[in-house]
Symmetry: D2
């Protein structure tokens, strides 16, 4: 353990005590206009100490507002704190008169929206980073209705990316000896396969063939940013139920050959778009390899959230890839209990597998990326689409979003860079030969 690490033990709580963070503030409510006024004062100030108190006042006052009040403040921030127009135009004139690098740098400064300096100064309040993450959560809820917030969002993303850069993230194993106040957040934030109670949580953490890892950040006290749940198995799994069912027997960790990332959950809505999932997975792969050198394969067992919607459209398209008898078979999907008859389910699964392979390899966004968001995440990380598993998730949600299909993405550290370049550069969907063949199969 390094010396510095040791020190950090005291930082958050103590500095708050010392400088005096008031949880509840007796000052009266402030209006959005008053808050914007305080923000202007904050920007005009030189003294850092009074700035810290003022920043806290602004953040507390913002938090005390109702939904409409918050919208009003966010709109104010977005609209009234752009660059100083006169200054900007003077800098443009200066640049045009003598277009050197110094003038360009000056122009850069002059063009900086005052929002950015405002966000930086708000961040100096104790607990300011946490508050800005919540503020961005508010913003994202409103951005559809208020596109004027986009510029403010861009500024927040720019600065949060800098403060949440990978160097500050800390990976930590979560297990049954983790403090309860962290564990209850794992229950709450699990986004893929719901954890119903403490007993289920325990089944996912305590057996020796289970692992869970999360990223934390020094300024987000006791708040995981993202976490991944891992099962150690003998083979690449083809279904989720056996992994999360009650009453299984744990396999000795040293005997496992495969590590399965079966659930990845982001915890902070206010940090969406600021991605650390890729780092987490790679760090966990490295960590597991070190601890269990006999592990040879690192895969996910992932949902396919866009398949059902896409297939619905395909089934309506006469000119699509589906053959007529496939269409007939898939008609089963429209009945509530279509899996009750095993033969019928098997026929449907066969068609679904081919459809899923087509979906991944051919369904694209306008930017020529895979339509499936989970695919974009893993392929962007340098993983390979390894296998399609029909009948893998028979939960209501699994049936609804993908008719039960799940897939495995393979993380092969030796290939990650190449895969990433193929995907990011050549827009290639990196897939195993089996998946490719499946996609090319004619019915």
């Amino acid at each position: 353990m390094t010396f510095v690490a040791d020190l950090l033990a005291n930082v958050s709580r103590r500095s708050r005590e010392l400088i005096g963070w008031r949880a509840a503030d007796p000052r009266g409510m402030r209006t959005p206009a008053e808050i914007a006024g305080l923000a202007r004062t904050l920007l005009s100030q030189r003294g850092e100490a009074s700035g810290v108190a003022l920043a806290r006042d602004i953040l507390d006052s913002y938090r005390a507002l109702d939904a409409d009040g918050r919208t009003a403040v966010l709109m104010q921030f977005a609209e009234a704190f752009g660059a100083d127009r006169a200054k900007l135009e003077a800098a443009i004139a200066a640049y045009q008169a003598d277009p050197g690098p110094a003038a360009a740098a000056q122009l850069h400064d002059a063009a900086e929206p005052r929002r950015q300096e405002l966000i930086r100064r708000l961040n100096l309040a104790l607990g300011g980073t946490q508050d800005l993450v919540h503020l961005r959560e508010d913003l994202l809820e409103r951005i559809g209705a208020h596109p004027g917030l986009k510029l403010l969002d861009a500024d927040l993303v720019h600065l949060l990316s800098s403060w949440f850069n990978r160097g500050f993230l800390v990976v930590k194993r979560i297990d049954w000896s983790t403090p309860a106040n962290i564990l209850e957040k794992i229950i709450r934030y699990e986004a893929v396969h719901e954890i119903r109670d403490w007993d289920e949580l325990r089944r996912r953490l305590e057996p020796e063939d289970r692992r869970c890892y999360a990223f934390f950040h020094p300024q987000l006290d006791d708040e995981p940013l993202i976490f991944v749940e891992v099962a150690l198995t003998a083979d690449i799994p083809a279904a989720i139920a056996p992994l999360i069912a009650e009453g299984g027997t744990a396999m000795p960790a040293e005997e496992a050959r495969v590590a399965v990332f079966y659930s990845i959950s982001n915890c902070q809505k206010g940090l969406s778009g600021i991605s650390f999932g890729s780092f987490l997975i790679k760090q966990v792969v490295a960590e597991l390899k070190r601890e269990l050198p006999r592990l040879t394969t690192f895969v996910t067992l992932s949902p396919v959230p866009g398949l059902a919607a896409w297939l619905k459209k395909e089934r309506r398209t006469e000119t699509g890839f589906l053959l007529d008898d496939e269409r007939t078979i898939l008609a089963a999907l429209d009945e509530p209990d279509w899996r009750a008859d095993p033969a019928r389910a098997a026929r449907a699964d066969r068609v679904l597998a081919r459809a899923a392979a087509r979906y991944f390899l051919t369904a694209k966004t306008s930017g020529n990326r895979p339509l499936d968001p989970v695919a974009r995440f893993h392929l962007g990380n340098g993983a390979r689409l390894e296998r399609v598993n029909p009948g893998a998730d028979l939960s209501d949600q699994g049936l609804a979003q993908s008719h039960g299909v799940m897939v495995n993405y393979l993380y092969d550290l030796a290939r990650i860079e190449d895969n990433h370049e193929a995907y990011a550069g050549r827009r290639e969907v990196v897939a195993s030969p089996a998946v490719k063949k499946l996609s090319e199969r004619k019915g």
Copy 2:
């Protein structure tokens, strides 16, 4: 202790192990031009994983260069990574066509020197922050001879300020149970009153009337950023020797009324201009108040580095403030042993006290700030110039820089904000009535 704090225990060392930081790289030497080429590649890349490795390669290659090679790389970074001129001019045109906030934001982006993105990407290398601090140290050594580096310096300061913002700094008491590898850095970095060996270090740390506090940062492993040494005393001290002499008896900490900050040392040259001294002092004042509620007074005992040089000029100026008999008395200063005769030394000290008060209150930079850099630091923090102490530092250095004069600056938490505003806003030198009176005395 918070959960997050606990985690940080493992971060630095572990992540290096996991992802594999190579201390020494067997790859051949790269030329400055090659390094600039790599930097261009780094900027053009999309993949974060390969980017991390490339950033490390650039930093390692830079470090392997000799002094001239480093100069060449720095000049390349400064000159060849400005904003893209075509893009910038297009953005200007777009803004001029439709000068709204969106166009201003676009202009801001277009005007950003590519140096900033380069620095951000270098920072993602493991240990990147540390390397950038060293790189800036190199830059500061060359900036006098190569003014073209100024723009690069501005970019570094901008980004380092963000990464070293107060929220990430951790204050830690340094004492005799601190790890030896940290303590040896305290010996090395002490810049005000030299610590000759481990015994002297121990005298400054172990007695119960001594304290030492430092700031650390999670990405600068085992490296203090700044530290302050404190003596607890009964009264405001008028001389440094009793505070650092051998063989004194410690006073019970609870009986002390005064905390004296007698030495503040910055440790990282590459962070000069990125100020945290003010935060450290305020945090230590708060910490000491909490631990020892009977402390009433927080002062420094500070050097006056510019006094002798300024006084030399004054003595040559016929029209200055010095009276004729004062000039005669100060002639003593030109003799090596002028303090040997106590009566003569006392006469000189009386004149020196008046001169020092004049120096602080009237000698100004072109920006109308006090000429004395230590005064600028403490007054800027909101301290008050409290007392002038002639004969306070009889070391060679003390006599050379200020003829032995030291001063006390007073930190009164209740007055800090007002003092700061007076200084920063009205350019006032905040001083005690006694010092003001001394400065106005006619001979």
Copy 3:
């Protein structure tokens, strides 16, 4: 944090890894006679390393036995490992020939049952202490049926007392940020007022007017020895329900005047009779006083487990202290729903209060101690019986054991020593004037 404390971080787990503790041992089952044979070998050995392995073998083999096998081993240990008779008689002869201190010391050695050395050597196995605590738990279950085990029990108590002496116990606050594997033990071991699930646990730990503290021991990994639950209140409470009910509002901790110890649970049956409850309470009182200086009163809210049984007998005794009309009133107790009628309950409570006071002050064991075991514990600690609260515990168990009566014991640190001496020396039941008066009331 001291350096040594820091080190202990690694001890248990690591040393086990290093020297190789086998959780499961593939060796075949051993019979009780074989185990006794191994014990004899262990005693005859000189080598500490082989001793450690042999001790582990014995403890593992013991653990693998069924109930009868364990009884047999315990009986063997009790009966076949007494002092060596020949040696003892020679020592007696030597002492009688020359009765000095050296001969007495030799006699002491010769009279030591070999059981003690056996226990000491078993304790050197890794995890040996934990196993010996379990072994004593087995023993206590059998001691009624097998009085021959008493001598072995005395030896275990003698040695466990030494190893669990207060210097090794560590008090730790238990709260909602405590690891889940510890918290589940709090749920399991709560012996006074059942904790039904994690939500109820949370209600006892998380509100700011709640505290929980436990003792731990370095050789009992992750196992609390005893814990106490505390509520902070405005006044001395007269009933348990408001303290453990759902949905209350927490009082700000700084406003509390009273700390109520409302549940104390021993966790390790194998340590019964080795008392640390007294130390825990005193340490918690000191800790709370330091944290919340405005607390003035430290009391328990305690059950009265023996009251109903005693009163049943009293009600049958014609010559007892009960008046005739009291007997009539108490007849209500024989009906299942006697508290349904408030007036009747109030009449009964009045009589119960007087009866309880009599019970505490006059009902004694053969050793002239109070009959009530909880009273013996708190009075033995130096507490004072402060107040009798009828109708304080209306749970099934509370009604069954004491017709709903609970009492407060007061811990006044300034009086604890005197109270203890009065109780331990003069066998006095230290009680408040109010309780005394109540006990002396004539009906």
Copy 4:
């Protein structure tokens, strides 16, 4: 890290604060007789809380005494706190009347010197264990002149052995990031090869081919019990100078094949005879094997403290094993500069090697153990005498005690048990064939 380990962080310091350990006690000096009186009171008390304070009073008062006063107290403890004679004789009578195990156990109790209970109660004082270790240090200084202290010593050894049993010892690597207050104790306690200053300490700790490990105990705050210094090398070393010289180059730790234990120092005189060195070495061997699996050989490089004295006698004995020409060669040893002439030194070394082998294999104590105390330690641990190295320690001390001879003891974990049994059981000096052959060589 286990939960319990984490807790221990607070124990020592905190519990002292809480219950109030007074470092300096204003109460007047007590005489030895008064202290003995307090000890009698302590034994007669029932209350544990007052007992704790009284125990502290006794220990503080003892510590305040001068040397004679301490002697007097120790003699009192030794002589006036034996078993109660009347009680003992009654117990003898009871045993003789009915000599069963219960009577034997009673006799054991009755024969216990009250010293033991006194020591147990003193140990309950906060810091009591540390004080008892110091008290035993005083006792050992006096035991030669006052043989009456032997019984007290036996009681102290009995109880300290129990409290310092292996389960409580914590092994910790000592390196350059260890707190300075621990490191200064390493400098002070190094007993084999002096560490002159912090630079020399650093040379022994920081290079990657060096290790140092110490044992600590939770009740001896910040005090190492014993430590061992290790060098990692390519081959078994034949001389000490290269291991501790200035200016060497470190070998990469992974390339080392041999771990050399070149210095083992006990730190606490008051714990002499309570042996943990064996455990430390074995634990360090296990630890190093785990960290550096390519290490194949674990040896010491040890002094031979008794060789010179024994050889002096041998050289005077006409009938000894020395041949006449050997006697002539060894005459060189009487001259101060005998190693100046390399040829002469080589001849002497050849004879010294044979003499040393004889010394180890034939020179015995009255108990038929090797005369050499270091040999007794390592052979008792199960090591094997591996190699004799003449000219290995040319320091003044090395030449004085063994004419420069050092030896290697080999720790082969697979053979340790057998070696130990051979040594402890059959009194065999386990030595390598080479050493045996050397010892049998005829001149």
